[in-house]
Subunit: 150 residues, 12 copies
């Protein structure tokens, strides 16, 4: 089983900017932690980051071929992208939405997610741990789904 992890815009800055908000680990270090957890869970994982909404659409559209589930931190696109929502809905790939910070405790516009209603669920507020929990959730989702279809 292979899980796709997508990091949205600006997440490449992790660890170097605003550590009091987003934590001190760099994105590379987080990806290593994700990989380590994946190993524990006996799944493969691939992590990608982009600033481009269009690239995220491509990745999501192509995902069902090679991945069993999606973990996505849409970052700023959470609040503005109907296109990512539509891509997830159209491909039907099991999706876990994750956020480093607690989006419900920040500016009011961050409380609305276009992605949440088409994701299986949402995890927010636990820093890097949000990704690791999200990976576990994605593996469970994908496993139960493959059971159902077998």
């Amino acid at each position: 089983m292979k899980i796709l992890v997508i990091h949205g815009p600006n997440l490449n800055l992790l660890g170097t900017r605003e550590p009091e908000v987003y934590g001190r680990l760099t994105l590379a270090q987080i990806d290593q932690k994700i990989a380590a957890t994946a190993k524990t869970l006996q799944v493969e994982v691939e992590c990608r980051q982009t600033h481009e909404e269009g690239k995220i659409l491509e990745w999501i559209q192509a995902a069902p071929g090679g991945f069993a589930a999606l973990v996505i931190n849409p970052a700023a696109f959470t609040h503005t992208s109907v296109a990512i929502r539509d891509a997830i809905a159209a491909t039907g790939i099991p999706t876990v939405e994750v956020h480093l910070s607690n989006i419900h405790a920040r500016e009011s516009f961050r409380r609305h997610s276009f992605i949440a209603p088409v994701a299986a669920g949402q995890i927010s507020g636990f820093g890097q741990e949000s990704y690791l929990l999200g990976l576990r959730a994605a593996v469970t989702l994908a496993s139960s789904q493959s059971e159902h279809s077998s």
Copy 2:
């Protein structure tokens, strides 16, 4: 007379995903239908699809040089792109906004279009037929406009 048809994000998935919402024809098949109708109407047509808002801006900006009118299904960008609205307003190209599904019968955020106020008109809810009707509308618009300016 040549008409530009722009398909927005995720429309490349047509026919393969959620056919109960968007119909069973692939985008290629729809483009063939559009071409057939264009032939009947004795106009040329060019169909393009992209996930990138920036590319749509380029196409719209360049359109007045080679095209008499624009038929656009902005898909998810309908509800989020002020930039496409501004491009249409700035170039002044006669524009028909089309939607496969009835956007007025879906989630409330889909009822608002940033594009509609700068388009000549909007056609939504008729599946592939929306494009064919949109093409007819575009030809009529372009014809009346060329009459006025001649």
Copy 3:
């Protein structure tokens, strides 16, 4: 196949008042254009106009007996009539909502249609052409429906 076309309140004034908004053709001339298009499409068409919401309800209720589909320009009733919405929903007749002007580019109260969610689709902004496109859409709708039920 026979299509019913209903013109809502004040549309009898067409061509004589506010031509810059609604065009220069009279309602009679528009009805002739509709008839001509109907002939091309090899269908029958009947056009009626009224100022009375109650009469529109009667026409819609009676329509399934004699008509395969409905093209309606509810005019002012678009924004205020729940009764017409209920009549369309109750009879289940395939319905195309049309508007001469682009209702999405006018006063904000005109952007909301009580009819749209129960219509198959909506066409607005193309002047008389809205009716002709609406007629084509209605014929396609009715054809596909009669196929399904046969």
Copy 4:
């Protein structure tokens, strides 16, 4: 004692359309049930249906002469008619508002009633039973009122 029952627009379709929403009895059958209950309650009852708001106004204005109370299912007019509200308020006739379906469990615009604040009370959601309960309520209202004025 005589009670007036007014059925609003589209209610003549009852039993023949959307039975899963409005039940399987025709309006005539409902009127028979109302009559039967009236007999049990030893009152007279008269049932009328119309699509015209103006006719409902006339009926309400004339009601105080011959009727002790009013049971009204304003249907679509519930949400759009200030005129019916004003007529009830002006005549002061004891009024019971009834609805077949549970208007609080449907589209949000159906939750607002212009009539409710001037009615004695509202009964919604019990199908034909709403009328029978409404009739009982109206009889009680009218009885207590005639006691007070005697």
Copy 5:
């Protein structure tokens, strides 16, 4: 010069119901007062009342032929009729909107008038006097207009 005065729904009840809100004069007595003022102003006047929106549309559409201006108390339709607004806008007849009660001091839904933006002005709160003032305003409007067009 001839002025048309239109009384909307329920106004036939004037004087007999809720006199503390609407005053003690009957509609007939008000019409006599209007006629008397008309005489003073040396204009003709014709007063009509109806419960039907459709009839008001007809009267407005026909008015430009025989009347120089319109004084209208749309009553309940003030807050619900886009059709009357459209009729006034379409015919372009100089229009004065009047109200017996102070609509700005009642329920919040009565503060919004669909008619006001297309009327020349609005007079509310002076009981029968609102009509007499409205008639004066209408005469002034019609006079200045005839001067301009002469």
Copy 6:
């Protein structure tokens, strides 16, 4: 057949406080009236009152074991309790919501009911009579349901 009647917070004060709003009968007297009507309808009834939301949840959860339907006047909890809504939805017990006063004619916050969308229907405004009508409605609901499942 046995029906459960639940009176929400503060209803024990009935008859002793604010009689102009809630009527002159005490809760005990109302319960006697309910019992008398139950006898007429040949059903059993049990009436309970509490100020505690938690107790209402317990009663609702336990109800399906011994009761065929629920008549509930949630009083203040109508407007604030998602938990009662969830309990009704979870147990699926046929439920009639009743109110002594006309909640649609009071403060605006009283117009919203969290309970209504999961109840079969709502009866409000008829004083004690609301309970008696509610009992009738509940019996009808329960009867039709037992028919369906037999």
Copy 7:
């Protein structure tokens, strides 16, 4: 009988600025027209203008001593002054609110008047004529009031 006319802020500019909105008469000319109408009506009138909210409060507070009624064009203060509202309510002086332009056909913030609910009525949209009509209304108000108190 003596009537006080108060002109709010910026009205001293009348006739010299934005004549297409506010007309071509200067404030002095309007005051002459008011005086002429007062003479016709056999009342005295006094006209004052100020930019200061505090001065308007003083004038209103002192008015009951010398004036039978108030005609006020609060201009910009219409939309922002609770203090003027409170002064009118506190003194209880019969008040007519007037506006030169049709405030219901301008920016949305101009549709709300803090003054209207405490005035007897409002007249807007008739240019200078608004004052003359307002004076008539004020005289009628004051007359009926003195009748009542005699």
Copy 8:
């Protein structure tokens, strides 16, 4: 290290009611799964359920004495309880909010959580898995906190 798990109102029904929404496991079975995960994580856990807001307040107030962190599924109280929010804020106990269903994909009132802004984070939509992920998050939170304070 010991973690407190609080289940809010109606959660005792789990597995027996609406399994398509909340899953097929009973609360006891979920508590066993939580205990099993706790064992894996080498922490102690105590699970409690109640329908009473007051009891939840007591448990939270007492928690800092014996527990390192709190996992809470406030169920219906999520949307209505300021008191639970205040208790969490006042005690400062590290808190993880969990939900079985995806609250962002249900009725709009369920999207607002009074608890989220004072919790460390929120996990919703993964059924029983939400608790297990929540437990992991709580352990991480408590561990990092004890590190900081040592």
Copy 9:
């Protein structure tokens, strides 16, 4: 004369938690200060605290028997309890609402009080002093009331 003081949920934590928001005195110390002030004012006072809305209802319902007035800090229930509002309105006991913190300077949801419209007045923002001022206000209220009824 005896005054009842009710402290709502979480107020038992006073002095031990968040002293920068709520001050450093424990609830017991505040109660002593209240008692001291009561002595000065020559009245008796009884202070109670609870987390349970139901208990507060009981206390309020029973209060008129033994207490001349009520001082209540509803804490979190201020913003969520219609039931407490109804209890105060039903018993008619003179009520003073107090808050330690300035609720108008905190989160927006804290600015709305369900209690305020049925209380005589509200005092907020003065820490423990709010209670002492509230006690004085309550004594004055009760005194003036007993004068009126004697």
Copy 10:
């Protein structure tokens, strides 16, 4: 210690107008009561009234020189003056906002105070007593502040 008391617009009318809302004491009598309470509290007090927002700004700006705290009843300016808010914030003078009537039980626009968020606290609804309580609150505030700075 000296306290400044500011009475806003229209408060000079106290006792002579609308006594059922604002009480029967004149402003002079209230000022005497304030002075008497000040004497009891062993502080000096100075009371001023004005209709001018600008004058209030001057008084507040100058206050820190001679006064230890401010008691202000901004009356109508409560709801409209950002300038007074800014003056209080800029000078940082300890401020108590008082209201004679219960502003939370009147028109909805009176519930919002621009002043409250920059005041230490708010007292409303106790008539003249509001001032006396406010004076006590101000003295306590000023005392604790002078302690802190010593």
Copy 11:
């Protein structure tokens, strides 16, 4: 060329109060900086400050006689004064709105400016520099305008 600079209410406190928000320069020092920049730009400048809305109206009304443009920091009046807006619109003087602080990053009510729509443009957030930039903008505006009219 002469430019008028108007400082609104409370700005006389600059430099002495809340320097972290508004900077450390006094108003006199800012006026010197403005004068220095004016010299550089070879224009005259006159700076005035007032707390009175009425005075600002007078200054604006008189400005066209002696000044080519207006730089105004309306301070608190930005958000509350329709009168200043009307004065600017009526005189048509080229106007630059300036703010020391970034009004878009403060309380939400500060984001709305009544002045902005009638000003040529707005500059906010640069402290004293906002005035200097505003002066430059005003000079450019006035220059281009005098070119056009010559």
Copy 12:
């Protein structure tokens, strides 16, 4: 010192389209003006334009390395891009937001800027001059910042 100037989507059309809104200078000409002003201010400047949000993110992320401050006209992205806001906040680069047109005097959706709260300030409405003023503001910002850090 080097300043980065970013032009957002569609700004390449400047001077060729809608000159009445955006002025007659081409983007190249504006860039020359910016360069000329930069020379005057003795700073370097680099101007870039793109239609791609992702490219703007890259430029902002890379800016702190080579630029002392940022002048950005986000054009359509002003109203829709949370990602640009986050990039500016994350990098902390001193930022000036500029707009050619007065965004506060256009469609209501243009009044909201996602960028403004994280920018130092905003300049709008002065055409090309907005850029020149913005450059001056940026230089001042960068200078004061380098002073503080030295």
